[in-house]
Structure formats: C-alpha cells, structure tokens
C-alpha cells in the first residue's frame, strides 16, 4: 500500500514539513484539528496550539481561507508554538469555512512559528504555491506526498 504521509525537515527552509493526503473531516474545525495534530505529533507545537488556531478563526472570521480552496490556519507565537512547522492536509471531501469567496476548502495548510521571523523563508515558498493555480492543481491531483512537497515548497522558476 502506498503511503499517504510524509514527514521531513528542510535544511534550506529550517522548517519541519508534514504532508497528509486524503483525510476525512466532518467540518472546518475537524479539518484544522487534523492538520494541527500533525504539528503536535512532530513536536513543533503543544496541543493547546490546535485550540488556539480554531479560536483565532472563530474570533476573526474565516479569513484563514486565503486562496480558492486553501486555508492557512495558524495562531500567535505565544500559543504553544515551539518550532517552525508546516502541516499540509489534503481532504478527501472539501469543507465550508464560511468564506464566501474561497470556499469550499480541500487544502489545509496549518503552520506554527515560535517568533515572528523564523517562518518567513518557508512562508515565501508557500506564497508562491498559493499564487500559482498550476501548482495548486498539481498538488490536488498528486498521487504521493512527495509530489505535493515539490509543488508546496519546490524552488520557484526563474523570472
């Protein structure tokens, strides 16, 4: 059976990255929880960080959905983040976050950072991913987590 999971550390970006494909979530909270649990599993965040991400969305609204079908849940640096980590979860069925422009969401990219600077390198790559419809489609259709990783943080083309 092929693996739907990948955990890696990028020396270049100084970040842990975990990828989980085709997970089932009943609603957006569950989806954030699934993604957050991976951050806890690789020990870059404490369990309370998961609740903090959910609370942030409840408090500030579904603005975490920042591109079509993509959510970027996260919480503040003092909410139990202890390292730089990115948890990419692809859902088997999209869920609604309540964002009229970018719902429904099938790609949940949770991240945590212990300070406001350490995650900038990896977020630059994720910004490229978010701005590139082609990359997003390739990640949606990828058969393996390794293919997703290439699209998510792969070196951008020149120009």
């Amino acid at each position: 059976m092929k693996s739907n999971t990948l955990i890696t550390f990028s020396e270049e970006l100084q970040a842990f990255i975990t990828i989980h494909l085709d997970r089932k979530a009943v609603d957006w909270k569950h989806a954030v929880r699934i993604a957050g649990e991976q951050l806890v599993a690789i020990q870059v965040a404490e369990p309370r960080y998961i609740d903090a991400m959910i609370d942030t969305i409840i408090e500030l609204g579904p603005y975490a959905v920042i591109a079509p079908g993509v959510a970027l849940p996260h919480a503040g640096v003092n909410k139990g983040a202890c390292g730089v980590g990115v948890s990419f979860t692809r859902l088997s069925t999209p869920v609604e976050f309540g964002n009229i422009d970018n719902d429904p969401v099938d790609l949940v990219i949770a991240f945590c950072t212990p300070d406001p600077k350490s995650h900038i390198k990896i977020l630059e790559r994720i910004a490229v991913f978010l701005s590139d419809e082609n990359r997003r489609e390739l990640a949606r259709n990828a058969q393996t987590p390794t293919e997703v990783l290439e699209q998510l943080v792969g070196v951008p083309d020149e120009g």
Binding site: I66, A67, L123
Partner: protein, 96 residues
C-alpha cells in the same frame, strides 16, 4: 511610501499580502516600504495605505486611512486591480 499589511496576528495572511504586493510593485518598478502588523498594533503605525482582507477592515478601522482590500491574498491579478491603483494614486499625490 509606507504600506502596512494587516491580519489577525501579523504572522500568516499579512506576510503573504506583503509578498504578493512586493512582487507586483517590483514588476511596476515602484519602491515602497511594506511592513506587517497584527490587528492589535496596526493602529500605532501611520501608513499611507493599509492592505488586508475585507473582513479585517471592519476590525481595523484606523480613521481617515486608505484601505486596499483583497479577497485572494496571493492573487497578483487582484492586487493589480485593487491595490496598484491606490499606490499609483498615492505616488501622484505625494509628488504634488
């Protein structure tokens, strides 16, 4: 010109806004000072322009300040359409 990208805690969305805007302004040959801020501290800056998502605007009403609103914070096309004209307008008025 000073631009502040605002989001809930100044870590994620605002950083993506900053990167997208930097890339668009670079293509236009426009230089600007872009920083990120969270809702709590956004007031303490005095920028020429705030850039955020529509739901953030209500929560971040610094009076008399110009807002650029984007729904997809990584979409350069949307930034060209909605934020670039504001930046160009500011550039013009600053020259006068």
């Amino acid at each position: 010109m000073k631009i502040i990208a605002v989001c809930g805690n100044g870590l994620g969305t605002s950083l993506v806004i900053k990167m997208t805007l930097m890339s668009v302004l670079k293509e236009e040959g426009i230089e600007a000072d872009i920083e990120v801020a969270d809702l709590g501290t956004a007031f303490s800056y005095n920028p020429d322009l705030f850039v955020c998502t529509p739901e953030m605007e209500d929560k971040c009403k610094a009076k008399g300040t110009l807002y650029g609103l984007v729904k997809n914070v990584a979409d350069k096309g949307e930034f060209r359409q909605k934020v670039l004209p504001l930046v160009q307008q500011l550039l013009k008025s600053n020259k006068k």
